[in-house]
Amino acid sequence: MTDAPRLPETRVRPAAKARGLTPIVPRATVAGRALVAVVAIMTFLAGLTVGTVMGIRTTAQSWRADVAREVTIQIRAGDAASVDTQVKIASDIATQTPGVSAAHVLTTDETSRLLEPWLGTGLDLSDLPVPRIIVLRLAPSTPPDLARLRRVLTDRIPTATLDDHRTWSRRLGAMAEGVMVVGLGLLALVTAATVLSVVFATRAAVATNRTVVEVLHFVGARDGFIAAQFQRHFLKIGAQGGVAGGLLAALVFVSLTLLPRIGAGSDPESPSVLSWLEPGLWGYAGILLAVLVAAGATALTSRITVYRTLRTIQ
């Protein structure tokens, strides 16, 4: 055979036997790396959105539950001895009502602590017409008939009022639902954007490998074999990008919950600045789902694109 000019030996690769076979679909192409970045970024954004929405949902639910678990009886100030009797009667009525699990009469200390933000410390409440408050804990499973309780109370003690925080609870509920609707809308948009950008980036990356599809086709590879080669390769790319983006999103949420603890003061009970953003188990499950959807969309798109390319080659 001919003696074609030899090129520098530095370009010669080590023996195939020693290093195993090169994958049929080229591994590190520019389009492949760009696709990893696109999948990572979009999964990160989708992860942030799903985590935030789930965080808001959990927080709103727990706030509403807290508000709904408690009602208060107020007894207007009057003659000390009669007020004490009225408090005793009201407390007895409440505890005898089915569905009320506990009744707690606020002590003078507790009442003055409640008023502290407005009236300052070192207050002598005996000088002021401060109403007495009884906090009722409701059983979550069997809520009491509050209308009946209110009726019985006002019949016996005309100066008593029952506050079930209904207005506050309704407003909070409306706000939480509004936020959820906005959040779900955003989530739908981000999901659509993620899937679309992953689909188009994958199609572009497969297009750069058209020669590979053609050659495999002409040497007699079955369509299923060619599609499987691409699907495996692109699943790897999708998983790399997806895991990177998902981990980053999870890391953001973890660091947000840790961050406010630094210098948050001495009270460990005080809520931290962004504690309402804790996505919870469902939020993290949502991030995992975003990773799976991104990787799955990448693999599936590559398969469909290869089949489409094969139809044009035929």
Binding site: L7, V12, A16, T22, I313
Partner: protein, 220 residues
């Protein structure tokens, strides 16, 4: 018969017929040149032969099967019985010469150990024994040509189609490649060699299929 064309006609879209009433046979273990002026329909005929195009009329039978009745999997199986050497080689730049040549065996799911010796042998046969682990961009035109030929032959095809296999090489190498095809034909493979090169055809007395203006003339 290996190949049978009966009154085959082909047009692209609504255009004029580029092949008209083409009728010919290719027998097992035969050797033929396919020639004709540029644009006469050589490449179209080659594409019909390796099932990359379907005729708009007429009947094509390959290995006894009517090609119009084949599903994609059957097309793949028939292609494995045909070796194709493209004019532009179609080597994959990210695979070594060795890997390119072994591709037809790899797609069958064979273990590398089972074909290593065979691929190495064919590469030595085409004179690329010391270029096995080099990537195609590093190969010369003649070397690429031989790698493409080796890839077409590795699956031991019954029918070899070569489109201008000497188009990119000097006359000396063209003669050597022709000898390689003749040697292959002697071992039982039918060969169809598409070429413009009259001098090359004059070196070997074989059947000539001449396409002119979409019609095929056979000179036995």
């Amino acid at each position: 018969m290996l190949v049978r064309f009966e009154n085959v006609g082909l047009r692209y879209g609504m255009g004029p017929e580029v092949l008209k009433d083409v009728t010919f046979d290719i027998a097992p273990s035969s050797f033929q040149f396919l020639t004709g002026p540029s644009g006469a329909g050589k490449t179209t005929l080659m594409r019909l032969l390796f099932l990359s195009l379907r005729p708009t009329r007429g009947l094509i039978t390959l290995f006894g099967r009517d090609v119009s009745s084949l599903d994609p999997d059957e097309v793949a199986v028939i292609r494995r019985r045909i070796g194709i050497v493209f004019q532009d080689f179609r080597l994959l730049d990210h695979l070594t010469t060795y890997e390119n040549v072994s591709l037809p065996l790899r797609i069958l799911g064979k273990e590398e150990a089972t074909y290593r010796a065979e691929v190495s042998e064919i590469l030595h046969w085409v004179g690329l024994g010391d270029r096995m682990h080099v990537l195609p961009p590093v190969l010369s035109g003649g070397e690429k040509q031989r790698a493409a030929i080796a890839r077409a032959l590795i699956g031991r095809p019954e029918f070899l189609l070569a489109d201008e296999p000497t188009g990119n090489v000097d006359p000396t190498l063209a003669r050597r490649l022709l000898r390689l095809f003749i040697e292959l034909n002697k071992s039982g493979t039918s060969v169809l060699l598409a070429t413009h090169d009259i001098a090359l055809m004059d070196q070997f007395d074989a059947r000539r299929l001449v396409i002119s203006d979409g019609r095929l003339y056979v000179y036995d």
